[in-house]
Symmetry: C2
Subunit: 131 residues, 2 copies
């Protein structure tokens, strides 16, 4: 069986892909892949996702320069989720100019919860375009 | 605005949630949450997911004993993905008895790709039930 057929693509032909920094272990982002993006990621060694908003292949960093070199690709027990261990060019994965997309931390005080942005903006999003 | 309204729930009212080991940084699993499961996770400090197959709330470890104590809850820039940093009871997150669900590594040799299971089975899945 083709290795791509082992993936349990969802009804839209997609699978969620988590990018994790290979050095720090930090979870950088979650994006989506279709069959072609996963094939290209494996072939090129650079992360290629599927942009659900633009409905097109999205080579991470193609406009921002923030490429992701892929060290490892893993599939889970149900074959419906992927983890990429990556080296993040520029140390910036998020289109907001932050290191990672998961910069909103849930804080709970006196039973009240709120999301608090914890990570500094390292580069002006105006200085690069998109992801 | 209620902190739960900040989440960009998908058409099914769900959001993907990545569980990461708080100590090692290893990505353990990806599951799904609905509004109630995220609320309960925040309230109880233990991971509660939504089982898409059973269509019910799923307190992780309720049958296996492999609970996840939640250290941190994070939301991404688009508010459509969550990361939990967790302490994994028993050191086993996967229903197959492995440490993590992402035990299939993509190996590439001579242009041919295949998935290879890399992680040992630490407990007989027959000795506990489900997740």
């Amino acid at each position: 069986m083709d290795w791509l057929d082992a993936v349990a693509w969802n009804a839209d032909g997609l699978v969620p892909a988590v990018a994790q920094d290979a050095a720090s272990g930090e979870v950088l982002m979650l994006a989506w892949m279709n069959r072609e993006s996963l094939a290209r990621t494996a072939e090129t060694g650079e992360a290629v996702y599927w942009s659900r908003s633009r409905r097109s292949l999205w080579r991470k960093g193609e406009t921002s320069g923030h490429l992701q070199r892929v060290v490892e690709i893993r599939l889970d027990c149900d074959a419906d989720a992927i983890v990429l261990r990556v080296e993040q060019a520029g140390g910036i994965a998020c289109h907001t100019g932050r290191r990672r997309c998961f910069f909103n931390l849930l804080e709970r005080e006196g039973g009240v919860c709120r999301w608090v942005a914890t990570d500094p903006v390292l580069a002006d999003p105006g200085s690069f375009r998109g992801g």
